[in-house]
Assembly symmetry: C2
Homo-oligomer: 309 residues x 2
């Protein structure tokens, strides 16, 4: 799957993942109106609105990008009905040829981590049969519990030819509270990065490992250091756009081969029609606005990378 992701990046020229993190407030009224007319102002109605909204965006951008990253929390808040919309979104994106990174940030220990891994990346046994639960291609994983929490994911990835991105340095303002604490003079995130690199070496695709890392665009200097510590790990970079990261900030996350990083944008793409810049599309054409935002982001990253060359 790491090869599919990399060849997708090369084919599209866009190291971009579209974050499908729908809030009801992002969804144009014509969609919520129709969903509520059919199912009422219910959890099911919300799930339907989210699904229709996602479908519009996926149809509009699927030829431009290699991957999407649905954030499961945005679905889970609507309970079972929200998770049905999540599952439907994952399945549809895969049908469209997109690589699906489930942003689930799970992490537990032993058999519990294994259950998460099985439920999201693998197959669960029921009697003599096997079933895939959510069936994403990649998942994000929280490393706080150590190897016991991560190894079950790696084992399932090996079997299923899938991959993970481990949280190393997150994009949020308070990420430093624990991640930046100095251990023998070096920030904790470097130690986590070194561990990711070790795990990654055991899990190589052709050129990159299928054990990657999450490092926020909001910390480009950190990105530079971690890029060096984890040369073979693909870095998933959140925090571009709405969170403040710009094209120029992204350069340190890439290797000299122009690969090694994939940049997420969520709100900046899926709610593009709400920005002044794309307002002329109108809410009816929200998906076209998203397409325009992807093209602009692609251009922004490409120029920044070209300047380095």
């Amino acid at each position: 799957m790491i090869q599919k992701l990399i060849s997708g990046i090369v084919r599209t020229g866009a190291p971009i993942v579209v974050g499908l993190d729908p809030m009801l407030s992002y969804i144009p009224e014509h969609i919520t109106k129709e969903a509520f007319a059919t199912y009422g102002e219910t959890l099911r109605g919300a799930g339907e609105a989210i699904w229709q909204f996602n479908k519009g965006i996926v149809d509009a951008v699927c030829d431009l990008v290699p991957a999407v990253k649905p954030q499961i929390a945005m679905y889970e808040q609507f309970g079972i009905e929200g998770l049905i919309a999540y599952e439907r979104t994952v399945r549809y994106c895969k049908e469209k040829g997109l690589v699906v990174i489930g942003d689930i940030k799970r992490g537990d220990i032993g058999s519990t981590s294994e259950a998460y891994a099985v439920g999201h990346l693998g197959k669960v046994k029921v009697g003599a049969k096997e079933y895939a639960g959510f069936d994403e291609d990649f998942a994000t994983v929280n490393p706080y519990l150590g190897s016991d929490g991560v190894m079950p994911f790696i084992r399932v990835c090996q079997e299923e030819h899938k991959g993970i991105f481990i949280l190393v340095k997150t994009s949020n303002p308070s990420s430093g509270e624990f991640q930046d604490r100095k251990v023998d003079g070096r920030p904790l995130y470097e130690l986590v990065g070194e561990q990711v690199a070790r795990w990654g070496c055991e899990c190589m695709g052709d050129t990159y490992s299928y054990v990657g890392a999450v490092v926020g665009a909001t910390y480009p200097e950190v990105g530079k250091t971690l890029r060096r510590i984890m040369p073979k790990s693909m870095i998933l970079v959140p925090g571009y756009g709405a969170q403040g990261g710009k094209g120029a900030d992204l350069v340190p996350f890439f290797n000299r081969d122009g690969l090694g990083a994939i940049v997420n944008s969520s709100r900046g793409i899926i709610a593009a029609y709400k920005q002044e810049k794309y307002a002329s599309f109108g809410s009816e054409n929200y998906a076209d606005a998203s397409r325009a935002a992807v093209l602009d982001m692609k251009e922004d990253i490409a120029s920044a990378l070209a300047m380095r060359m």
Copy 2:
């Protein structure tokens, strides 16, 4: 809700939470057989078997303990159908008067953490209506992302009079990889514990805070230190029984008032009938074996605490 938990502990004399972490291999054949006869060897069949198994245990132990802790991973591995069984279990346990601690170990940033908090502890808005998604009483939270990840949970807890347990030192063998790393000469878990204590002071019930901590029974010395650092935080203690923790190991986790800790046992209770000690119950009477295991655990903890007095 923290008061309900504490008064439940006092009423039952059992600072015990039953971990409802069902694996299909724990479930007696008569239950799986009937579930598969109705729904086939499907995800729905698995969900039904889990639900029936849980119901039997809850009916057998609900007068003995104040709380249960379903581990959502064990349900999530069966996809949507597993999560339906989770939701059903949560609802049933609440009907039975039990406090439900959702072991979800979620944690993200800003609006995403808020979505998790809303989905598990709060209410989500759909148009003019509000709905509770999973509606547990407490949730476990991963602190790796810092305050941005935790504060949204605390805000929802304040509104809903619910609570959280933050992972500080987990019970697994590799928990030390990051949690024990020395920051200015002190292990990271102490800094996380101090932060939990600070958050906790702002969030007091009558005697204890509704911001608690998770500290594994397998590290009693650590428990002693963290008990001191977080005097007002309830400590949720996993790792008793199957993971190796014994009654005597638990003493340091309690305050002198005999409160301040609640000890989880999962496999040791829900799969008790598989142990030699309780084998005479037979798989048909698995729930009675679970009841006996709870009574033995209560006795084990009470004697250990009595020895300290």
